[in-house]
């Protein structure tokens, strides 16, 4: 499956709790323009195995699927789900009690959650429980 994560090389410290080992002082300051993107669907070069050490990562909900359905991020990463489908969906934690719940996301609506702690966070769509995904934080 092609990785469709888009990342923005944001410079440091937007959110608390970022792990120091994930910061690269040599990264350029943020500047809109494809040259400053680490990778993306435009360049056609996916990040290694869905791993991102940027602070902002996106999961697309489309065709009744989470893309990518398996995402690995570092602690402190903010993950944003965007619903690009015509039907409402949700990103709801499978655990009890729920770690996070986007609630109903209509088309083009998004929801963000910051994964502060390492762990494996499985989730699903409340409306269409066959849609499942997992965020690995390490």
């Amino acid at each position: 499956m092609t990785t469709t994560i888009r990342t923005r090389a944001m410079c440091l410290l937007l959110l608390g709790g970022l792990s120091a080992s994930c910061r690269n002082p040599e990264w350029p300051a943020p500047d809109p323009g494809p040259a400053n993107y680490m990778a993306g669907p435009e360049s056609g070069t996916p990040l290694v195995a869905g791993f991102s050490n940027a602070s902002d990562v996106q999961v697309r909900i489309e065709d009744f699927k989470f893309e990518p359905s398996r995402l690995t991020v570092s602690p402190g990463t903010k993950v944003t789900w965007v619903n690009k489908d015509g039907e409402p969906h949700s990103a709801t934690s499978s655990e009890k009690p729920k770690r996070f719940d986007s609630g109903a996301l209509d088309s083009d609506k998004s929801y963000s959650f910051t994964f502060a702690e390492p762990g494996s966070y499985s989730y699903f769509c409340k409306l269409h429980p066959h849609m499942t995904g997992v965020v690995e934080v390490r």
Binding site: D85, E87, P129, H130
Partner: protein, 315 residues
């Protein structure tokens, strides 16, 4: 899927048949008798005097999705209103209406309000069960606030009418990841006790949102623990299970149990395998939309346990 009416059955008089043709249009007519589903002319109601089982009809509507506003239907309120006019114009006034869920699209208060506003145009009482869309925000709270009266647990209940036992089940709450619909232990326990006093010859009609048989697992069209409910129902001589959720008509007969799904009043969904996902069918020309939406009218004829199920479209 529209079939013309078949040849006249011997229980139907000429006037009844003409009245029936006037409103059913190119609808489907089905009769269930002793568990066998066959397509023939609907026996119109008689004077219904005396007898343990008076003849009556009831209507099922489903999946109104108030709040939905995309292709192929920017205004479900309008198509629902057309259906209400149709129901109110039925030659045999229904005793009540069943709404098998997805009343709203996103369970927003404004959507529930809009639904109530439009549905009060129905001249008959309506019995509801929720769809998964109705419990999207804050779980069952908004739904039960409006429709919980007289129900137990997460909104299930039963009632009797004309010798038939009606059971409304809720299979859209506490859905598990990778799962289908779900009834849960508490509801199944309630169902067991609820059915106990009724003899095997009592016709039972179960109405719920998600199908109680697995139509298409990949799209979540089924109920994980339905087998436990069906086991409780199998001893009855006539069981009819009505549901919505899939926005198209499908049926199945399993012994004495007949399953019948309903069309939506908002938008059609594709058949299993005809699309990559079960979302609304978008490329439906405006003049074809109403042929894919509709209501279900169910009639009880004087033969005990016999139901005539009629699907009709809005067009």
């Amino acid at each position: 899927m529209n079939k013309d009416q078949e040849s006249l059955g011997d229980r139907m008089d000429r006037r009844g048949f003409l009245e029936c043709a006037a409103w059913a249009g190119t609808g489907l007519l089905w009769t269930v008798s002793g568990g066998i589903l066959s397509s023939r002319a609907f026996g119109q109601e008689g004077t219904g005097k005396g007898g343990a089982r008076a003849e009556f009809t009831f209507v099922q509507i489903s999946d109104t999705h108030f709040g939905f506003s995309k292709e192929p239907n920017k205004d479900p309120a309008a198509t629902v209103q057309e259906a209400i006019r149709k129901v109110n114009a039925l030659p045999s006034a229904p005793a009540f209406v069943l709404h098998t869920g997805d009343i709203t699209h996103l369970a927003k208060p404004a959507e529930f309000d809009a639904a109530a506003q439009v549905l009060k145009g129905l001249r008959a009482d309506v019995h509801y069960v929720p769809g998964e869309h109705d419990v999207l925000s804050d779980e069952t709270k908004p739904y039960l606030e409006r429709y919980g009266k007289g129900t137990k647990g997460l909104g299930w209940k039963s009632f009797d009418h004309g010798g038939i036992h009606f059971v409304g089940l809720v299979n859209v709450v506490n859905l598990r990841p990778s799962g289908l619909g779900y009834l849960g232990a508490e509801q199944l326990e309630w169902l067991k006790k609820d059915l106990e006093p009724h003899s095997d010859s009592t016709p039972v009609v179960v109405y719920t949102h998600m199908p109680l048989w697995t139509i298409h697992e990949k799209w979540g069209w089924g109920t994980d623990d339905s087998e436990q409910a069906l086991t409780l129902l199998r001893r009855f001589g006539s069981v009819t299970v009505l549901n919505g959720h899939i926005h198209q008509i499908m049926q199945k007969v399993e012994g004495n149990i007949t399953f019948h799904t309903a069309r939506s009043l908002a938008f059609p969904q594709p058949k299993p395998g005809e699309a990559s996902n079960p979302g609304p069918m978008k490329n439906v020309p405006a003049d074809k939309l109403r042929e894919m939406l509709g209501i279900t009218s169910v009639g009880v004829v004087s033969n005990p346990g016999t139901l005539a199920v009629i699907d009709s479209t809005l067009a």
